[in-house]
């Protein structure tokens, strides 16, 4: 389990994370949403010790991230994928890129090749292995960035705005892979986004504003207060927005949030 207990962090004197507490279990899909500058990326960097809290404690399977002697173990357990895959490539080919982390971990070549083949199959990028990363499409690049973390077999994976540069098709593809990582691969997933349409299948949602967690709960609990979300700079999925207006007019029930529920409610009237 990744656990944040009353964690605060500041860049210089500028406090960006304040008294944040939450946890992520293996197999759980947790989403963190918030406006630009709300502290989301800082929280991502705190999960595996890239940043250390000024106050409070972050632990991974019981080990505190400030335990320097176990820093490498923690980074092996928690993989981070960032927004722009172009900033993360170092290999001349995708295969070299995926092998880089494994070589640094002194993984035998045969074992490395097996892991690369298996992860490439899981993400559907077998056909890209001999291509230079820069020639891939945006969605393929992001899959390679995720694959380069997965080959290291982390128990947890933190994805920071990984869909923001993609077209709608690429977005859906990456989102379905991410859900599979939690649902079928048993990884603990922290998915960071400001696009609320992407949180719909989460087990748990954290809403962050000015460095604080201001809402924490299931998807419908979070979408229950549309006005509040908008007031802290968070967009509302159009179907949730429509449902909120129809609810205010007492034309659909309080349990209606999503497109299918609205259609059912309207068409059954």
């Amino acid at each position: 389990m990744i656990e944040f207990r009353d964690v605060s962090f500041a860049y210089d004197k500028h406090q960006v994370v304040e008294s944040v507490s939450f946890s992520i279990e293996k197999g759980e899909f947790v989403t963190l949403i918030g406006a630009n500058g709300s502290g989301k990326s800082t929280i991502a960097c705190l999960t595996n010790g890239l940043l250390l809290p000024f106050e409070g404690k972050v632990s991974v399977d019981g080990v505190s991230t400030d335990d320097i002697s176990l820093g490498r173990t923690i980074k092996r357990k928690v993989g981070l994928v960032f927004q722009n895959p172009d900033n993360q490539f170092i290999g001349m080919t995708v295969e070299e890129d995926l092998a880089f982390g494994l070589e640094n971990e002194n993984i035998e070549r045969d074992e490395a090749m097996v892991r690369i083949a298996s992860v490439a199959e899981l993400l559907g990028i077998e056909h890209c292995l001999s291509s230079p990363p820069y020639l891939l499409s945006g969605g393929e690049k992001q899959k390679v960035a995720i694959a380069s973390v997965l080959v290291l077999m982390p128990d947890y994976i933190v994805l920071d705005e990984v869909t923001s540069l993609l077209d709608p098709f690429g977005r859906k593809e990456i989102l379905s892979i991410v859900k599979d990582l939690a649902g079928n691969q048993g990884k603990g997933v922290l998915f960071i986004t400001h696009n609320t349409e992407e949180i719909v299948d989460s087990d748990d949602v954290l809403v962050v504003s000015n460095g604080k967690i201001v809402l924490h709960g299931g998807v419908k609990e979070v979408f229950a207060d549309v006005d509040f979300l908008q007031s802290i700079g968070i967009s509302i999925p159009p179907d949730v927005y429509v449902a909120s207006i129809l609810k205010k007019k007492h034309l659909v029930g309080e349990s209606v949030f999503f497109e299918k529920e609205i259609l059912d409610a309207i068409c059954l009237k």
Binding site: F169, S235, Y241, L246
Partner: protein, 280 residues
């Protein structure tokens, strides 16, 4: 007027990585238009906009600005760059100046504008992007919010007084508040007569902001016309891997159970119509 005539662009032509980025592309951009350039990643959108001011040169065909081929030797590069301003993705990552004034003045200064003209251009551009110039020009651009930074970056191109403003995903990576402010000010700039062409993956943005859609697929222009016409062609939209804005998709799904619903671009209006139909 900007005109692209029968242009082909090929990357890495004599290698195994050869890629035909644009094939037989022709289009014209006239004064006052607002054009959304859409298509999947890798469809040729960024290559197309870089043709507009000569950053990418065609392997075949011509790019004409006011009737002159911009890729001929005797054409002034400075003049082309001034007339066709491009705002790239995440333009705020290129900030370098200590104040907003110096950031926005950089372009006009490099184009040898006089001091008086520079001040006028900076103030006008900041106003177009919704700022009160005296209250922001002395601030460091790095201290601004995400939406403000993006608007200052757009202003720094508008300050060069381009005839055409090209924006590559102007709201990419922005939250609700930033996106809303950038869109509303681009719309206001357009109302003021600015010709704009913007690349976007956001179909809502294309639907609400543009009066013309150019759709690309694998380097070919597969559609060039009005947003209403494009978004009513469901086969083409799904064929090129895009989807219609929510307001249209939702209305279509409701037609089966509610019968005819008047067309509306506006989600609030659509909800009012639905409310009136089911409320009685």
């Amino acid at each position: 007027m900007l005109e692209i005539r029968n242009v082909n662009v090929v990357y890495d032509p004599n290698t195994i990585f050869r890629k035909e980025a644009l094939t037989n592309v022709s289009l014209q951009i006239s004064s006052g238009e607002s054009i959304a350039i859409i298509g999947k990643i890798g469809s040729g959108k960024s290559t197309l906009i870089q043709l507009f001011n000569g950053l990418v040169k065609p392997d075949e065909g011509e790019v004409l600005l006011d009737g002159v081929d911009i890729n001929t030797k005797n054409v002034s590069r400075k003049e082309i760059i001034r007339k066709v301003g491009i705002v790239f993705q995440y333009p705020e990552e290129q900030f370098f100046a200590e104040t907003v004034f110096e950031e926005v003045a950089f372009g006009p200064r490099n184009l040898d504008f006089s001091q008086k003209e520079i001040k006028e251009c900076v103030y006008d551009a900041l106003r177009v992007m919704g700022f009160d110039p005296p209250s922001i020009i002395h601030r460091t651009p790095f201290s601004l919010s995400g939406g403000e930074k993006r608007r200052v970056a757009i202003a720094s191109v508008i300050a060069m007084r381009p005839e055409i403003l090209i924006l590559d995903e102007p709201t990419a990576g922005m939250d609700y508040a930033g996106k809303t402010s950038v869109i509303s000010h681009i719309r206001e700039g357009r109302t003021g007569g600015l010709t704009t062409a913007f690349v976007t993956h956001d179909m809502e943005e294309a639907f609400y902001l543009a009066n013309r859609i150019i759709a690309l697929d694998s380097g070919f222009i597969v559609f060039d016309g009005s947003p209403e016409e494009f978004f009513s062609n469901r086969n083409l939209i799904s064929q090129i891997g895009l989807e219609a804005p929510f307001v249209l998709r939702f209305r279509e799904k409701l037609l089966d159970c509610l019968g005819e619903i008047p067309f509306s671009k506006n989600l609030e209006t659509l909800v009012d119509l639905i409310g009136a139909m089911i409320g009685h």
